[in-house]
């Protein structure tokens, strides 16, 4: 929902602008300079990250960098950090695994980029050759998972000539570890669902990806990861085409899905030996196969009671798709009972509250869902509508309106991971999962706390001791 929360977005823009111009704040040259030492090629300097910086000043930064990197070379940490898949033992005051009870005084063992063991420090023997991290006063939690983001790459969000665009995909434009993702990491986000915009009824196929550095093949979890459908609001057509209203838009969506369903059925019949002739391959409809096989979900831009109703009826009941309600705002919480019957996850945001005219009362949308017993519940930022790094704040505000804090921690980790069908990889601290670990000074839901260190796939990608606090 790129357009709706104008006031909120304007505030965010002002806040972002302020941060750019505060010395030592986000995006400042000095912060970026240190980052450059550990990751960038020589001469991949700061000009792209600090557009205002002149070449001359960069030259000075370079000079100081040379001196600084010499210092770093002598530290033992760097040598280990260069190892592709280091073995780590992370000791913390408290582990929030997001499955079961928190562990007081916990240790996490990491090897080959995966979590090897999680438990009480006294129960875990650290084998030889493990690099140890000690954060006795800090929490460890799984990397945060964003269910609705647009900041994974270039700004090519909406291709709006046609109303349904299942031929489009967005992983060709991914810029790994870009500036916004670096900030996201500083906010603890390690996985995002990067999707096309809601300018059309079917924007295209999105990517589930990590926020850390690396080649495209290293950072992609799934591509296609999700299909993006937008049912009302933004995709309305004003040019005389069908789809100026909800009835027309739902007709268009249905027609496209029926065509795709037939295509997938033809192939399924052929693969199962029920038909002899191989159906012709249609590149435009190929990615519907995992969708109709329920291997990937459709994330739906849907909100308002009536629209969510049609989401349930068309996309779930009729098309039998794995559905994620990916805004679910306004009064759609009144449909919770129907949503629960269908076991559909709800990822609320970026708008978090709704003014209930019937009762003259402001309501927190997430809390309303939770009060109606929704468990598969989370929040999203729709970044850059809300800056990606402020995912925790979406959860904090939901708690402010009455959501349970423990549920909120799950709502930014394991619940979005389940909704996106990647909970076998991310979302909790469990043996065998990706070592995406966030070290915080306390509960991430409390805005007074901050992120100290972030590991993605077992590699330290952000450390306030080296990088300073970026956020």
């Amino acid at each position: 929902m790129i357009t709706a929360p104008v006031a909120q977005a304007a505030t965010m823009i002002l806040k972002r602008a302020a941060k750019w111009f505060v010395p030592g704040g986000r995006g400042s040259c000095r912060t970026q300079a240190k980052r450059f030492i550990s990751f960038a090629l020589p001469f991949e300097s700061q000009a792209d990250r600090c557009p205002s910086a002149a070449r001359l000043s960069n030259a000075w930064v370079h000079c100081s960098l040379v001196a600084f990197s010499l210092l770093l070379l002598t530290s033992p940490q760097l040598a280990v950090a260069e190892d592709a898949k280091p073995k780590l033992a992370i000791h913390v005051g408290k582990v929030l695994t997001c499955v079961g009870e928190p562990i007081i005084g916990g240790t996490i063992l990491v090897s080959e980029g995966k979590i090897e063991a999680v438990g009480k420090t006294k129960d875990i023997k650290v084998p030889e050759g493990y690099q140890e991290f000690h954060h006795p006063d800090a929490f460890a939690m799984p990397g945060l998972v964003e269910a609705h983001a647009h900041v994974g790459g270039s700004g090519d969000l909406n291709e709006m000539v046609y109303q349904t665009n299942p031929e489009l995909r967005n992983w060709d434009q991914i810029i790994p570890h870009n500036d916004q993702l670096k900030n996201a990491i500083a906010g603890g986000i390690t996985t995002i669902c990067f999707i096309p915009g809601s300018g059309t009824n079917m924007g295209g196929w999105g990517t589930l990806m990590k926020t850390g550095p690396g080649k495209l093949s290293d950072i992609i979890i799934k591509a296609p990861g999700v299909l993006k459908i937008a049912q009302a609001g933004n995709p309305e057509r004003q040019d005389g085409e069908l789809g100026s209203g909800r009835g027309g838009m739902n007709y268009v969506i249905r027609q496209q899905l029926i065509e795709a369903q037939l295509y997938v059925r033809q192939w399924d019949d052929f693969k199962a030996g029920r038909t002899k002739a191989e159906p012709p391959m249609n590149l435009r409809l190929e990615y519907f196969k995992p969708l109709f096989h329920r291997e990937i979900p459709v994330v739906v831009h849907t909100q308002i009671y009536q629209v969510v109703q049609s989401t349930l009826r068309i996309l779930h009941d009729e098309m039998n798709l794995k559905v994620v309600i990916d805004h679910g705002t306004f009064d759609s919480y009144k449909l919770t009972e129907e949503i629960l019957k269908r076991d559909i996850p709800i990822m609320v945001g970026p708008r978090g509250f709704y003014f209930d005219r019937d009762h003259g009362q402001m309501r927190g949308i997430v809390a309303e869902y939770a009060n109606r017993n929704a468990k598969a519940l989370g929040v999203n930022t729709d970044s850059p509508v809300v800056p990606q790094e402020e995912l925790f704040f979406q959860a904090a505000m939901a708690v402010r309106y009455g959501w349970n804090e423990e549920a909120a921690v799950r709502g930014v980790t394991i619940e979005p991971a389940k909704a996106l069908m990647i909970d076998h990889r991310v979302g909790s601290l469990e043996k065998g999962k990706d070592a995406d670990i966030v070290i915080t000074t306390g509960s991430i839901i409390d805005p007074r706390n901050h992120v100290k260190q972030v590991f993605i796939d077992g590699k330290s990608v952000y450390d306030t001791q080296i990088d300073r606090r970026r956020f």
Partner: protein, 416 residues
Amino acid sequence: MRKTVFHSITAFILTGLGILCSGILCSGILCSGIAIGQEKEPASDGVLIRAKHLYSNNGAYGEKGEVYISAGKIKIVGPSIDVPGPLTILEVDSLMPGIVDAYSSLGLSGGTSEVSREITPEFDTYSAIDWSSRDFAEAVDGGVTTVQVVPAAESVFSGLACIVKTAGNSGDRTVAASGNAVLAVCSDPTSRNRARSRPDGIYMRQPTNRMGVIWIIRSSLNRIRSGGTVAGADPMSTELLKEILNGKRQSLAISRTDFDIRSALDLGDEFGFKPIIYGGDEVYRIIEEFKKRDGKVVYTALARSATTSRGTEGTALRWNVPGKLIEANVPFCLAGESLLDQARFAHRFGLTAQEALAAITARPADILGISNRVGSIEAEKDADLVAFSGDPLQPTSRINWTMISGKIYGNDKSKQ
């Protein structure tokens, strides 16, 4: 009926005579080259150039050297050569091969690409070249002797490039008439299209962003691969796209950002062809991957780095990219405007002097597949040479004259 046939035959004969006459007329004009302007025909067939410093791209770098030229070709190269017969002898300070620009739009007249449709590989730059364009004369003055004329990436498959010499009579100037096929893996084709305007306009079409660009490439190549044709396009489009897929025609992908460069290689992998990257501004960001995937790049961003840190499409420019490319052993060349200045900067930021000169001569010739004709001073190659008043990489050095296929085009007559 009979009469008509007779008339046709007469017309045919008359036309033939006409061609013959104009041929004689033309060669007459050419022989008196000196009279009509800058062209200067050496007195005899053979020319011996004595250079205090020879930069040959083939052994000699700055040493004394001599080059013997006959019939527009280099015949002998050595430190001191002995040729009999009447000779024109030219004394020069420094001599290097003619500069090869792999990415230019010189002489392209009447629009730099076809914009009525997205798939027009049959648009042939060769048919739109104005041979008398002043651009060519200016290129000659700058020591550029061979250029690849590339259509702009205003549409997804925007056309065919051609390779020509910058001077000479038009027939002899052609090196490759319809050559590499252009593929826009960038945002260029999206700039003009609109998603929401009058639905009867021709610009109400995909792509309006990169997702659409990728789709148009994938869908059209997929149709060709599965034996179909490109809907709405000329039948020739189908043939040309087929040639890209079966490796008979080299494709060049105009890509500048790191992700577009990667996407171009990905498309190549998906459909089994190897595009050469043109632009390549941000290739340094993925240089390891680029090397592993056998990427080749015609790097044009150095022409811009002098004035800005941002390139087309907002790419982040760096000075020392050629240095990084050499270090990684990636096939590349410099291209675009001010090639001599580019080589000077490349030398200042990471290339040896020898590598810098090769980056605007031998390397582009290699990438264009014309190194059998141009790019170095070697026997049996075209006599395309540039004479300088000093070291070519010194900004104080002047170009005395440029020779193309043995013919001198000078902007400094006092030195000849």
